[in-house]
């Protein structure tokens, strides 16, 4: 009789998590293929089309960068909270609020003639602040009253959706459509195609400067995690809150500060979407970037630099997903990937021993 037994690993090699993650993604794609085939679709054709449009065509890089920008910013945002095992899953709502505030600044507060740099800076600050505000509500409720942040942050996402709808259907609507008027040019993020006269290759490429925001944020966070007191506290509180308390860390303050930055980055993702892509606020402008960002953060194992790559790959998945029917395929694959990655964690924590004729009394030891 063959018996499997799990033994806890004492040490984990550096490469093991990377290999298991890649393996998990492959397994997820395989499972997705089986489901697609079961639903009467040809998985090879669907995957092939997605890969081609997402990664292999001349506009792929630019289009994929566009989609990966909000994923990267919001993914960095949620990863900060996840580091201290604070489950901010309301990034979508924080993103919406950031987009709302940036729109308000661009259309209703600053005059059209505001210089571009000041305009974009003001919009960025407003976007960050609104996202931070929406994030700090669950943070404050968690820190002061122990309210479960998973539920409260998600409920606030629904509230944010209705809030946005009020403005785009109501006072900000133009011509009876659920959208605001277009931003003045000064409120647009610079895009690659702006330089098409000098560099013809950029013609039609819509990638915008928002991705740089993401890269800069990733590098800053990497440094902060490694070298700042806050980064250290995040890790200690996440690993062992009791020890953190004994060490005299102010957990409430760290929770609130973390949610400010976490929500702020998601808000910046929303600002970057309206300034870089849609150039107005409209209903359903985000296809759930804030939710996909959760998977991106998890897949990158909360490492900010790895997140740049993972966000890019998921951006490609979304671009490719837009090219095929039915529209839910990327969402389904995302769910599968998340499942397989979390399952694969087992292999990084435990070693599987196969025993023949193992005595029945044996127990695993810790």
């Amino acid at each position: 009789m063959i018996r499997f037994r799990l033994e806890r690993r004492e040490t984990t090699s550096r490469w093991l998590p990377i290999f298991t993650t890649i393996g998990a993604v492959l397994v997820a794609l395989l499972m997705g293929a089986i489901l697609l085939a079961y639903g009467g679709l040809n998985p090879m054709v669907a995957y092939g089309q997605m890969f081609k449009v997402g990664f292999a065509e001349s506009y792929s890089v630019s289009d994929t960068l566009v989609k990966s920008t909000p994923l990267l910013l919001a993914g960095l945002g949620v990863s900060i909270a996840f580091r201290m095992r604070l489950w901010n899953i309301g990034a979508e709502g924080q993103l919406l609020m950031g987009a709302w505030a940036a729109t308000g600044v661009a259309l209703f507060i600053l005059p059209e003639t505001t210089p571009r740099f000041i305009m974009l800076a003001a919009m960025s600050i407003a976007g960050f602040a609104a996202g931070a505000f929406w994030g700090v509500i669950p943070g404050w409720l968690k820190a002061k009253m122990g309210v479960n942040e998973i539920i409260s942050s998600l409920m606030l996402t629904y509230v944010a959706t209705f809030f946005i709808n009020y403005f785009v259907f109501g006072p900000w609507a133009v011509g009876g459509f659920p959208l605001t008027k277009k931003f003045p040019r000064n409120a647009w993020f610079p895009r690659l195609l702006d330089w098409a006269d000098a560099i013809p290759f950029f013609r039609g490429m819509t990638a915008h400067i928002g991705f740089f925001y993401g890269v800069v944020a990733a590098i800053l966070l990497y440094i902060l995690f490694k070298h700042s007191k806050w980064g250290y506290e995040l890790k200690v509180i996440g690993d062992n809150p009791e020890a953190a308390r004994y060490a005299g860390m102010n957990i409430s303050r760290t929770v609130i500060l973390t949610m400010v930055i976490s929500g702020g980055l998601a808000g910046l993702a929303g600002m970057s979407e309206v300034a870089g892509v849609v150039h107005r606020l409209q209903e359903n402008f985000s296809p759930g970037y804030g939710f996909t960002a959760i998977i991106v953060a998890w897949l990158a194992r909360l490492n900010p630099l790895a997140m740049i790559i993972v966000a890019y790959l998921f951006g490609g998945l979304l671009v490719g997903g837009d090219a095929i029917q039915p529209a839910g395929i990327p969402l389904m694959i995302q769910g599968m990937i998340m499942f397989c990655v979390i399952s694969a964690e087992l292999f990084t924590k435990y070693r599987i021993r196969i025993k023949r004729n193992a005595p029945l009394t044996e127990v695993s030891h810790g």
């Binding site: 409720l141 998973i150 409920m155 395929i329 769910g335 087992l346 695993s364 030891h365």
Partner: protein, 325 residues
Amino acid sequence: MDETLIFIFTIIGAGLRTGTPLLFATSGALINERAGVLNLGVEGMMLVGALGGFAISYATGNPWLGVAGGMLAGGILSILHGFVSISLRGDQVVSGLALVFMGRGITSVFGSRYVEIRDVPRLPTIELPFMKSIPVIGESILDPLFGSQNIVFYIGLLTVPAVWFLINRTRPGLYMRAVGDYPAAADSVGINVLGQRYLWVFVGGLFAGLAGASLSLAITPLWIEDLTAGQGWIAVGLVIFASWNPWRAALGAYIFGALRRMPLDLQAVAWLPFASNPILGVWLDMIPYLFTILALVISSREATRQRLGAPLALGQPYVRGERGL
């Protein structure tokens, strides 16, 4: 006067009906949490239950087969969560989140062909015309409440005491609580901890599937993408609000149902013109979600005064011989 009374109780009756799917979902989440497994994937399981129920009812013409299929769909998805969180000892929060993504994705892929369908065989409404003839309270109170309710409403009413009885007065319920509170002790007296947890996670999935199917076959009898609109998450929140007690869970579900339904009913009120204004109406639509947060705040206030009924080993994988409860 009678008009007003009828109106008020019609609203309450509609609220009770609207809260019924949430009642099922909350009961299910409560059951698997009592066994020590946190399943945040209720939203995903509800969605596959709703679509599964809808599709099977449409294909077979029998809504009860649809309910069975929807329950099974929720159950199957929950087993996946069980496998990750019980056998593979994965993080239950992340696995539950993955379940939601998966449920949304699967129903989005397979549901697109059902969106246009309106003539699906539905669960029956039970007409009780004699309610009207009961003296004094019949016409103005009982008839609007019970005169014409869908059968799932009555199933919901029966579920609450049944779940309470199961948890507190039966041997399987004792095992459920044992593996949820003291898994190591349960193990030492020969209870199969992992098997029990699988069982109750599956039961929780069946309930979530029932919640979804009752939504798509009775309460909002149609299929659209994201039909549940966050109700699965609200169920998870209500379990905390209910401090793991089925009676309080029912109370929360019904209040939520009433709040969710109210914007629709208030449109008929002449002196509340803003309710029928679709632009201002969105403020009313926010109320149920804000209520959920408020409910959590209230229950956390109580938590400071008394030790609440959270299962002691909630969210912790059980590994024989390792530290922990």
